[in-house]
Structure formats: structure tokens, C-alpha cells
Amino acid sequence: MTASQIQKLSQAAPADAVGYGPLVAGLALAALALTILSTVIGYAPLDIGRALSDFLHGVRSLPALVLIELRLPRALLGCFVGFSLGITGAAMQGLLRNPLAEPGVIGISGAAALGAVIVFYYGLAGVLALALPLGGIVGAMLAAVLLYGLVGRGAGTMTLILAGVAINAFAGAMTSLALNLAPNPYAALEIVFWLMGSLVDRSLPQVWLVLPLMAVGWALLLSSGAALDGLTLGEDSAQSLGFDLSTLRLKLIAGSALAVGSAVAVTGAIGFVGLVVPHVLRPFVGARPGRLMLVSGFGGAVLLLAADIGVRLLPIHPELNLGVVTALIGAPFLFSLIYRLRTEA
């Protein structure tokens, strides 16, 4: 893709109509508000005041349990996973200088999903409560190590993309194989549903397991902002501005593996958030890749929480899987991108 095509795809940037500070603050507040709203909305009526007061007084009442065991993990994961998808999508688009890049492009998500599928396949999910996310995290880390090996040997961005394609293809094939050889139809069904991505029935221990990993990932990604700004002018210019590109690639691989790998490990694959959110927010930060990351993080949280609240408000049962909903929103968006590229070319 040429630079001019990228410019067309990524829209002319309005001159920072909203300041960066107010934009970050606004999106962060929206994410916080939706996280709270997400604990209030559910299928069964819940007296939040009573649930909260019971919980604070150590009373294990039904409302307190519903709030803490069901609603809170779902809301928190919606926020953190959305943040991870948004920030990693922005980082990958910045690294590859391509508005069609998304968190899964280097194969981390596929590998994380495969790790979880293997746990399902061997029936370990029922044996150990945290086996599923741990399997996903191991899958993501193995993919990261493989990519690290390649980049450590001086491979460039193109090699990174090709390696991502290879990892995704391998993970996809192995996932299909697991479905193919599933011991019983229920196991296969369980895998298929999990792969669709959802925030339902996750637990607080799962949240505490992945949150520190995600936070380290976010920090690694955010610390690469200046280098991604420099990359706007190409690899030679970025390097001449003092940024070591191998270090940058390693930081972004590690950051994505920690942020998105652990997100996929608990929620399954939720597509399109990491593609759509940076694209929508890019004009508001003057297309600067460094600034796009934090706003895309909060934007991702807002989108995922809104979609998750949406599926609970829709009168459709059984509830739609979140990955299905985000893809239903994302696919038309992608078509509009292609349409714009074709009409402006």
C-alpha cells in the first residue's frame, strides 16, 4: 500500500478540534461510566445499593454474589479487554504504517486462542479454574518467543507480517484439527462458542490473573509512542531520529503478547475493535500514532462495553456472542473503507 493510499484511507485530519487532554479525559470518563452501567444492567433485576452494602458488610447475600461474581468481572473485563484491543490495534497500525493492521496481525491472538483450545481439547478447563486463561497466555507467549527469535536476528517489518500470517495459519489449522478430532460433540460446541468471544461467566480471579500482564503490556506499548511518531516518515527517518527499530519491534511484540494475548485468553477472539477504534479516533489526534494509542485504548473500552451492554438489552436469546456483534459492526465498516479507497483512487 502506498503512502498516498494510506492517507486516503485514514482521512484528512481536522486540526485537533478537541484537545488531546480533554479527549483522553472524556473517553476515560465514558469508559468508567459504561463500566459502572455494565454492572447495573443484566437479565435479572438487581438492587445495586443493597448488593453493594451487603458486600461491604461481608454479607454473602444473593444480590452481593450476583454483583461480585457475575456483573463485576464482566464489566471489568469489558473495560480492560477493550482497552487492550484498542491500544494494540493503534500500536500495530503505527508500526506497520497501515490502517488495516489489527491486534491479530502478528499472530498473537491466533496463538492465544489455540492455547485455550488445547486446554478445552484435553478437558482441562473443568479440572482447574484458571487453566483456560493460562493456556491462552502460554500460547501467546510461545508466539511472542517465536517472533522475538525472528526479530532478534534482525528481521524487518515485512518478515514480522509474514511470520504473523504463518502463525495465524498454523493456529487456525490446529484449532480446526482440535474440532475435527474433538472427543465428543459437546467439546466441539464448547470450543466453537468460546472462539466466538464473550465476557459471560468470567470470574474475578481471571481478572486478577490477566490485569497485571495487560498493564505491563500497555506500559510497553505506550512507551513506544515517540518512536511510532518518528516512523510516520519511514524507517530510515525514524532511525535517524534516534530510535532503534529492532528494540521498537521487540517492545511492540512483547506489549501485544501481554495485552492482547491475555485478553484473548480470557474472552476468546473479539475481532474488529482493534481495527475500527484507532481508525475512527485517528482524525481527533491529528493522525499522530503516539497519541492515538491511549485514546484508542479508552475508545476500545467504550466500544466493547457498549457492545456488551447492547447484547444484554437486545431481546434475542440465547445472548449473541460479543465477537459476533463486533464483527457485525466491523464488517460493514471495512466495506465502507474499501468503497472509499475505490472511489477516491
Partner: protein, 269 residues
Amino acid sequence: MQIRAEKLTVRFGAATILDRVGLDLRPGEVVGLIGPNGAGKTTLLRVLADLVSASAGEVRYDGKPRGELGRAALARRLSFLAQGGEVYWPLRVDHIVALGRLPHRQPFAGMNANDHAAIERAMIAADIKHLRHRTSATLSGGERMRVLLARALAVESEMLLADEPVAALDPLHQLRIMELLQSTGRKGAGVVVVLHDLTLATRFCDRIVLLAGGRILLDGAPSELTDDLIADAYGVAAFRGEHAGQPFVLPWAPLGPKLRRNDNRGEPN
């Protein structure tokens, strides 16, 4: 800053791009790096900017090897203007110029008064202040090159390496950019500019380095660029003239194959 390259050799696979090239660069001097396609000009510039490592030989910055200087320190002292002038996102012009201040900024810190002043000076020098709120997507080729040159000037480095900054520009913009590079040299910075236009090179540069087939054929004053050297390097006959007391060189007609010694067409650049 002084840069001294000694016996630089660069090989890509079986091809030798640079063959034991030696070069001294001094502050306040505008050096025109010329030579036919595939001569190794871009590779030499990239080695000098530490963007690619030499297979043999070394580059010293003020007598120090690059390892002693550090990438961040080098970035503050040497700026590089890449060939092609691509801008991958539709950034605003003043934001593009501000990228030149990245080597001077602390992690996560915003820009200080020095940075703003340097950006302002660079935009005035490149005459792009009126474009500051436009986005890169809306600029013409000449405007974009001036913006990118302003970005390189905003580093306020002691050495500026520019790879074909006037390629594909109309005569007015070519002259403006050359004047700008010349005035950058007059202010004390060292400038190396890769050029294909022999007329501009001989007119605006203090020194000419003629590269052909990975070797230096000439390192001297523009007046030393003889017809024989031009014939050797490019395989063309040149027309010479003088205007307002200033000599100029104009490539005029291709020579027959027998008269060419260094036919380098087809080699990588």
C-alpha cells in the same frame, strides 16, 4: 561535527556497492554527492548516517566511533532527509516539523520553549509558515519536500545529510531548496546533498564528490569536475558555460559505448 569515513566497503550479497571509500566532512561546507544511478550515493549517505553498517571500514564522528557516541547523541547532531519524502499518516505540517525535535525530548515529556523556537525557525527558513495548519495529504510535491526539509532543519544538527531533495521538483522549487541548503552551510552546519543535476551541484556546492561504481572518482572543487570525469562517470558529453561570472555544467549528449569507462547502469542504488 567532523565526519571521517575510512575505507568503507559495503557488500549486499555478491554485489559490492561501496569499495574502500574514504571521505572527510567538515562543518560549514556544502558537499554535492553526485554520480550515475547505482553509483552507491544513497548507500554512502546511509552509512554516514549510521542507518546501515559497512562490511568493512569505519565512520568516526569527531574522532569517535559510533559506539562511543550513542544513537541518541548522534540523532541530535546529525539529521537525515530520506529520498522519496513519504509521509505515511495525514499529519499536520507543524506536527511533521515537530518530529525533528524528538531527539531532543525526554521520554513522555512535552515540547519546551526551545523546541517551539526551533520549529518556528525551521518553518521560517523553509518558508512554510503559511502551510502550518495544512495536512501532508494536501501538499504539492514541492511543498512536501520543503516541509520535510524543515523537519530535518528543526533538529538543528551540526550535519545535514539530504538524499535527492530536489528530485521531481520544478526549477523554482529546486533553486529554493538549493539556496536553503547553501544558507544552512553558511550558518555553520555541514551539508551533504545527493544530486543528479550537475548544473545545481556545480553552482551551489562548495565541494563535489563524484561516485561511480562504488568508488570516488573526484573529491574536489566544482571547477575540478572535468569533461573527462563526466564522460567516465555518466557516459555523456557536457556543455560548459558561464553566467554572471559563475561557470556551469550542462550534460548535453550521450557518448558512444566505447568512450564510457564506468557504465554502471543496472546496479542497485
